[in-house]
């Protein structure tokens, strides 16, 4: 059996266990009554089922499936981002270009593996073209602010997220045909870090890390979560091209970027006065709430691999 299939079987088994435990808690401890902590846990387990199911389906179709999946994730994320941004009519052309040209072009470039262009297409060319299009609208009210928001939407939702499928284009000697496992490593470490931070926070959390940004994050939760997720990453060294200590450092980097990414995305939400980016999964936020930690981690993970392991 391939490593990928084995990973998915283990994930399914783990989730089955988690679901059983969640149901048991619900009936034994909460006796079927609403209980915020237990209901939240069960909602998280449901979201993981969806994550594993959707990733499994995409993996079954190989590179094409993964590109289509992340294209859709970027689409939903971008729609959420711009929905919460107060753009004006003068931005119409720039927004249309972001959706109908920027988004598909970035994924096309990844599909044809043109690294030289897809790594600068958005941060250089889209960033130049978007304000040009916005200025064509002739509206100078809050121009710089609007431009920054439209550019940032594309950066966060398309450029950063597209670096997950871009992992499939890396040619790592001795690791041929196994690149899907890099995505699995990234997702497991990021999601594991979120879950472990939540658990440590519930157990030991006292001192708030950044009360104005994310009221639920505590120093104890973050340190415990990041440390244990780094150990989790080290334990997964056999699915990566890394030695165990390298896997641990890589996981630590991913966790730190994920943490900071989550805080930045949270700051944007607070600025807009909302709790969640959207309501894609009932009571569990939108697409950006699901992927906010992956966003900042993906390009960094990609470049560490590219400059460290691709010869």
């Amino acid at each position: 059996m391939s490593t990928t299939a084995w990973l998915f079987l283990s994930a399914t088994a783990l989730l089955l266990l988690a679901s059983l435990a969640g149901a048991a808690l619900k009936w034994r401890v909460a006796e079927g009554q609403p209980n915020a902590t237990i209901d939240h846990l069960n909602a998280r387990i449901r979201a993981w089922w969806i994550t594993v199911g959707v990733l499994g389906l995409a993996f079954a179709f190989g590179k094409g499936g993964v590109i289509v999946l992340f294209f859709l994730i970027s689409f939903y994320a971008l729609r959420e981002f711009y929905s919460l941004t107060d753009t004006r009519q003068g931005d119409h052309l720039a927004l249309a270009a972001a959706f109908y040209i920027g988004l598909p072009a970035q994924y096309y470039l990844i599909g044809i593996e043109w690294y030289g262009l897809y790594s600068i297409f958005i941060p250089v060319y889209a960033f130049l073209v978007l304000p040009i299009l916005a200025s064509a609208g002739g509206d100078t009210t809050r121009f710089l602010e609007r431009t920054a928001k439209v550019q940032w939407g594309l950066m966060v939702c398309v450029f950063c997220i597209s670096h997950v499928p871009a992992l499939l284009t890396l040619e790592i000697p001795g690791y041929e045909g196994r690149n899907l496992l890099l995505i699995a490593f990234l997702v497991i470490v990021v999601q594991g870090s979120d879950a472990l931070q939540y658990m440590w926070g519930k157990l030991l959390g006292r001192r708030k890390l950044a009360p104005t940004l994310s009221p639920s994050k505590t120093w104890e939760g973050v340190i415990g979560g990041v440390a244990s997720a780094s150990v989790l990453g080290a334990l997964l060294w056999w699915i990566t091209p890394f030695a165990p200590w390298q896997a641990a450092l890589m996981a630590l980097t991913i966790c730190m970027m994920g943490l900071f990414g989550g805080l930045v995305m949270s700051a944007i939400k607070r600025d807009r006065g909302v709790k969640d980016w959207g309501d894609l999964i009932e009571g569990h936020g939108g697409m950006l709430d699901q992927v906010d930690s992956v966003i900042f981690a993906a390009p960094v993970f990609f470049h560490l691999l590219r400059y460290g392991w691709v010869t």
Binding site: R79, S83, D86, Q89, A96, F99, T141, V274, L280
Partner: protein
């Protein structure tokens, strides 16, 4: 519309009947396609404010109007069994202007066509009283979608002043439920004069029904109806509007 459909096509009496059936089938499919497209673009969903409910009784939904897509979005969020019986109130001049619009307005949406222009040399008969037309439709058991601003709001203002039609309807048709609705974000999806819609998340927010007070005058009732619509807006949108207004004042 679905009550027309399940008719089995068997030995029709005349070619005319086949044509009617084909037209109804085409209308149903077009309706589904329009709803599907609206959902794909905007992920639209219905949100009910406290005290709001969607019921299968003659209801007048009155909403803010900033885009041609407004009634489509409202229509798409109604449960199918209510949707079949809900007719948008639409300007005849626009919806009868071409064959395609006539098909969409008449066959797909079953719109209640009202004439906005006064009598002219080309159309000498005086326009029917729109309020009377709407009262008749409500009494016949239909629900209606109407935009009390009277026309599309293409200004920077949150809403235009409400026309008096809503008040006259409330007085002449006391048995109809008057449900305020706020359509969020759609004006940014397709602003005036643009052809390409932008995918942005939209929601249709339904409020608790309002009732005309026994001795409430027109101005007071319209002010209350307007406030009921504005109260449905999400917080972040109110902030954005205040921010813009403050900035424009300062400029």
């Amino acid at each position: 519309m679905s009550e027309h459909l399940p008719v089995p096509i068997q030995a029709p009496d005349s070619p005319a009947k086949v044509r009617i059936l084909a037209r109804r089938a085409a209308a149903w499919c077009t309706g589904q396609a329009i709803i599907g497209f609206a959902r794909l673009l905007t992920g639209v969903r219905a949100l009910l404010a406290p005290g709001a409910s969607l019921q299968a009784v003659p209801t007048l939904y009155f909403a803010n109007h900033s885009s041609h897509g407004d009634f489509v979005l409202l229509w798409a969020t109604l449960p199918p069994e209510l949707r079949d019986n809900t007719r948008p109130v639409a300007g005849e001049d626009y919806w009868l202007a071409s064959r395609l619009r006539r098909f969409i307005g008449h066959d797909v949406f079953n719109a209640l066509m009202i004439r906005r222009q006064p009598a002219t040399a080309d159309a000498p008969e005086a326009p029917a009283d729109p309020v009377a037309q709407m009262v008749r439709a409500l009494e016949a058991g239909s629900s209606l979608i109407m935009f009390p601003e009277g026309t599309r709001n293409t200004t920077d203002a949150v809403m235009l002043p409400l026309k008096s039609g809503l008040f006259h309807l409330a007085r002449q048709c006391p048995q109809a439920r008057l449900v305020p609705v706020w359509i969020e974000n759609l004006r940014r999806v397709l602003p005036k004069g643009e052809l390409l819609p932008i995918p942005l998340a939209c929601s249709v927010r339904y409020g608790a029904p309002i009732v005309l007070g026994a001795d409430e005058d027109k101005a007071a009732f319209l002010a209350r109806a307007r406030q009921a619509m504005l109260d449905l807006r999400p917080d972040h949108q109110r902030q954005a509007e205040h921010g813009d207004a403050a900035q424009e004042e300062a400029a």
